[in-house]
Every structure is written in structure tokens, then in C-alpha cells.
Amino acid sequence: MRPCDDIRAACNDWLDGTADPSIEADIDAHLAACEDCAQYFGRLRTIEDNLAILGRAADRLADAAGTPTPNKRLTWRPLIAVAAVLMFGFVALLRHQNRGLEDIHQLAENTGTADGDVGSDQGPGFHITVPDGRLALPIESDNPRIHIVWLYHETLPPGETAGESTGDAATQPG
């Protein structure tokens, strides 16, 4: 039987599967008889198999990490579109909020000054009156916060200041 050193020196070719058939036969015979060398060659084989597993793991890592990703560069078009929609919505909301005031101004221009109580034909609960020089206008606005706005259409006497108030149609300013 060949000595252990000779057999172990041939382990490289044995692991590569390129050993000469006669040498391979010698190795097999030796391993069958020598437990130390059998364990040693067993370790070599296990390490070789585990290296192959490491190689596959490295490939998975490389393939997974290297998968092309969609271009993540920021594109401005969708942002501009969203900004435009938001701005449009904001402006529309502002206009809706201000519609009541526009109605008021329009009504003030159309109505001018009036004496007395125009009457209830302007709508239930709404009257146009001119108490103390102030003009009370009904508001045809959907805005529930504005019912009546008092406007001053004449030069106020000293000490008096213009103001707005909301309130029930039947409420006379105090």
C-alpha cells in the first residue's frame, strides 16, 4: 500500500476528478484501509462541496443585486401635472369661497340704495333694508357661513366704522 503522504499529495487531482485511473485505484484502496486518510479525504470532499454552495450563493447575490432596476431618475412631468391639478383645485376653492362676496358686490351695484323694506319677495327670511344708511344684502351663496353682509354705501358719520357681520336675516344690527 502506498504511504499516506503520497496519497494525500494526489488529493488535488482526486478532487478535480482528473486523477490517472491507476492512481485513483490506489487512492480508493488506501482509503479503504486507512481511517485517518479516509477522514482527511472526507473533509476535503465536504469542503469542496461547501465551496460549490458558496459559489452558488455568490451568484444569487450577484444576480439579485445586479438585476436592472427601472430608471429611478426623477421625472418632472407628473409632478408638474399634480401641481397644476392642486393649484386649479385651490383656485376653484378660493373662487367658491369668494363667490359670496362677489354676489354681494354685484348685488350692491345692482341694488344701489333703497329705502324701506323691499319685502319678502327676495326670498324667505331675507329682506333688503337700509337701516341707518347701511345696506343689508341677501347672499345667494352656497357658503353656509355667510347669510347677510352689511355694507356701507354712504359716507359714514364720524365715529362710525364699516363692518361685516353674519347673522340671521331677521336680526337688525344693533
Binding site: 461547501n50 459559489g55 447575490l61 430608471n71
Partner: protein, 190 residues
Amino acid sequence: MARRPNLMNRGVKPQTDLLGRPASQTDPAEAAALDDMRQRLLRFAVRILWNFQDAEEIVQEAFKLALASGPTGLDRRADSWMFRTVTNLALNLRRRRKPEPLAEWIDVPQNAPPDMRLRRAEQLETLRGAVADLPERQRTALILRTLQQMSYADIADIMQLSIPAVRAHVHFARTRLAERLGANPSERQP
């Protein structure tokens, strides 16, 4: 001056190929060969560094060096040159990032117990560490032979050694691992 190919930005079509030639003039077959080379180099670099970002940077650096002073073709000489360059860059790299944990990347049977993957990963981490501790030439030769599955002739070209010298390095690397990992290849020898 040709624009340098941007390997990192995959979303932008490069104006030049990986070797600095105008992309419009690159033959599709050559472009595919270049891409294949890049993939092989990336895998190789990952096997040394175990971190994809480090590997990608090194491969890109290798292509930059190829642009500056390396081969311009895609022959076997270019292959050896690129692998040699990647090897040298990888070995000289001061590690910037930690190696990726193995648990996610190893294969275990589908019905294996949950802790099996962790135990298996631990065993392989030990082996990976032992490989990293090998002397440079033994480590390079072993990785090229066992992980990259290259022939001794190709390894000799890359490492600029004779074939018997390469075989010796692989042999000593294997026996060193066997001695270090002891009776249980997953356990370190003191």
C-alpha cells in the same frame, strides 16, 4: 475624447460600450459578449468580496483601466487581463462594506426546519472566513478553480504563473482549509 461608459446607471443608454467604443458602432454580438464579460467579472468579484456594491465599483474601475491602457478587443487575452485586474483591485481594496450575510443566499430544502438555514449559514460563514484568511495567491487560485470553475491554464494566464505553480497553490489552499477546519469542516482549529 470618448465618453466613459456609465456602468452604474443602468437606466441611461450609454453612448459608448464598455470598452469605450461608440455604442452605435458596436456589433450586437460584441455588445452581448461585453455584457457577458461584465457579468462574469461581477460574479467573480462578489466571490472575493461578498459585497455587490464593492464588486460593482471594482468591475467599473477595471473597465476604466481597460479604457486607459488595457486591451481593446474581446479575445482570451482581454479576458485574462480583466480577471487579473479585478483580482488585484479586489485584493487591494480596503473593505468599505461588510460582507453580505449568507443566510438569504444559500440553498436549503424547502421543508427544512427554520433554524436549519441559520445553522447552515453559520457553517458556511466559517468556511468563507477561512478562505478569506488564506494567503493571497492560494485564495485567488482556489476561488478561480473551485468557485469560478476555471481551468488551470486560464488561471495560469490570469495569475501569470505556470500551471504547476497554480496547481500547487490550489493544493495547498485545500489542505490548509482541511487542517484548519478540523474533523468537522464547520469548526475552526485553534
